[in-house]
């Protein structure tokens, strides 16, 4: 009897020999190179030509190249929960679509579960589950169960197992009581759960989750994250690559995080090490009415201040001041602001967060 017939709950904690990987509900093994790398990319690059309006095409304006994914080298280990953190347009979705064979790269290579994304796209698809950030990825006019049964057949599950498998995934995600409800009547949170159930149908070793908690309310997100971490990543031993632009999410969930900005990885480490990379102990965040270069250089000359980052968010001037001790320099800072005719409409002192690290590296915030 193969494991899927036993159902999820009774599944023993799977022991996967490092040379073999379990794919789908089949005993579908293959020998890998012997390492424990689930996802590997090599100089992976995707360039889009931005479609121009008809007018600019008539005027023969040059097409604009967008390097959505720009020479990414990445290794994700088996059973790792890996986060791609970056602002809108950073290239997170494009990277996931490349890895799930929905896009072809312009340069570079990648392998997923040991299979090449271009040459072995069938095997890659057998090895992965994918959820997209769109709410429209399911049929709204079908029930959860009807959706899942249809997709289970597309994942080439053994027909005799489809019903049981759908039941098990619904149970696992705690939405079995809504199995007959049409997707259009689901809450956005539970819709995302059905999408996750779909991604689990073929019991793939690797999951790609694109912005799994986008648009969900904080308390639902919290439970959903716990589910992803405890049930899917830990108990079910899935390798998970997820994208997010919520730094808390990445911080709480991920074993390792890659900061991605303009198609490139700008930092990659555990959340803890990333935060440690900021030596300064405190950060003062200010929202200023005005910020001149002269004012900034005067601030930088203050003894306890290590560095200053300026960025614009929601059309306001923000400034982050990295320092060992906020209390020892705050008086002087306000003095300089007043001298330059500026004042702070918002002021906060905090410990470094992932977002601070991101801002320090890229010079811009996560919200674009």
């Amino acid at each position: 009897m193969c494991p899927a017939q036993l159902g999820f709950k009774s599944l023993p904690r799977r022991h996967i020999p490092s040379q073999k990987t379990f794919i789908g509900s089949e005993a579908f093994y293959f020998v890998k190179s012997g390492d424990d790398i689930a996802i590997k990319t090599n100089d992976l690059t995707k360039i889009f030509l931005r479609r121009n309006s008809l007018m600019s095409r008539l005027k023969k304006k040059k097409k604009i190249e967008v390097r959505a994914v720009d020479g990414i080298d990445l290794e994700v280990h088996e059973r790792e929960l890996f986060g791609l953190l970056g602002p809108n347009g950073a290239g997170k979705t494009s990277l996931i679509k490349l890895l799930s064979t929905l896009l072809l790269p312009d340069k570079g290579t990648a392998s997923v579960n040991g299979w090449d994304i271009e040459k072995n796209s069938f095997e890659v698809r057998m090895s992965i589950g994918l959820t997209l950030s769109s709410e429209r990825q399911l049929y709204w006019k079908l029930s959860a169960q009807e959706n899942l049964e249809y997709f289970a057949s597309l994942y080439l599950l053994r027909p005799s197992e489809i019903r049981q498998r759908v039941e098990d995934t619904l149970e696992l995600l705690g939405i079995a009581d809504q199995r007959d409800m049409l997707i259009e009547n689901f809450s956005s949170g539970n819709r995302q759960k059905v999408a996750l159930a779909r991604a689990l149908l073929n019991d793939p070793p690797i999951l790609f989750l694109d912005e799994p908690t986008i648009g969900l309310d904080p308390s639902f997100s919290k439970g959903f994250r716990k589910l992803i971490k405890d049930r899917i990543n830990k108990s079910e031993s899935k390798t998970i690559l997820l994208t997010t632009h919520y730094m808390d999410e990445a911080d709480q969930l991920c074993n390792r995080i890659a900061f991605i900005n303009e198609g490139r990885i700008v930092a990659l480490d555990t959340p803890r090490n990333l935060k440690r990379s900021i030596d300064e102990k405190e950060i003062i965040t200010l929202n200023l009415t005005k910020a001149s270069d002269a004012m900034v250089s005067e601030l930088e000359r203050l003894e306890p201040i290590h560095s200053i980052e300026r960025y614009v968010q929601d059309d306001s001037n923000f400034m982050k001041i990295y320092t060992d001790s906020a209390s020892s320099c705050i008086q002087d800072i306000f003095g300089i602001l007043i001298k330059h005719g500026s004042h702070a409409t918002y002021y906060r002192t905090s410990k470094p967060t992932l977002e601070d690290v991101f801002i320090k590296i890229t010079g811009s915030g996560l919200d674009g």
């Binding site: 293959f30 095997e123 992965i128 997209l132 049929y139 709204w140 249809y150 779909r198």
Partner: protein, 283 residues
Amino acid sequence: MVSELSKGVRLSRELHTIRYILKKELKLWKRYPSRILFILIMPFLSILTLYFQGMGLVGGTQSSEFESFAGTQDYLVFIILGSAVFIFVSTAIWGVGNSIRREQMMGTLESIWVTPTSKITIFVGVALFDGLFSSYVAFMQLLISSLILPVNLIDLRLFVIIGIAFLLIFALYGLGFFFTGFVLIYKELEDFTNMITSAIKMVTPVSYPLSVLPAPVAFIALFIPLTYALQAIRKYMGVGESGSLYQYLGLLLVFDLIFLVVGSLFFRYAERSAKRRGAIATY
């Protein structure tokens, strides 16, 4: 590398997938009640239109005037057969492309595209559903005509008609693949659909024999397999057409092959192109 999902197992699974596709299409269909009303009423409307047209133009279902250029007096039978076959034409050519377009608009296309099932299986599933649907509409047209009009089309000859229509369908699916590729590249379909469908209807002998068309237009018809299917069916039913039945069928087969090959090649090109440009989901 060894995989235990052998080619044979994969094929048998994909055959089951087709069953699930039919099931899903049927369910989606049922959740939109206006569609049901549409398919119940449509066959009546189209048949009665043809009938009244005949009454108005030739004063009945027969016409000796018509015989002089069509080779048959049976005006009404001639165009009912044309109309029934034409139903297959529009669904077979546009069915798959429309369904891809629909999934694109609903937002489900990428979710399907990322599964291991081959595109061919998905197309066959959708096409089969459309084919069954067209057969129903065509059959209803013939049935309704035989019940309420002074013609009789429901007898054993029906099987031969279906056989010929079946041959036609391969060529149409070739065209269908072509237009499905077209959808992936250009998105636009609705206006284009109507234009091409009307153009095909104009140049082929659906509602009138080829002999009424100016020579250059009739020449175009020679490259459209629908022409030969219509001629073969009418020849068999003894309503017009002077050539040989086997010649018509032979030409139909040749065009089946050409259309299928060209259509699939173009689709493969279009899919790669869409994946390069990231155009599978966008609309």
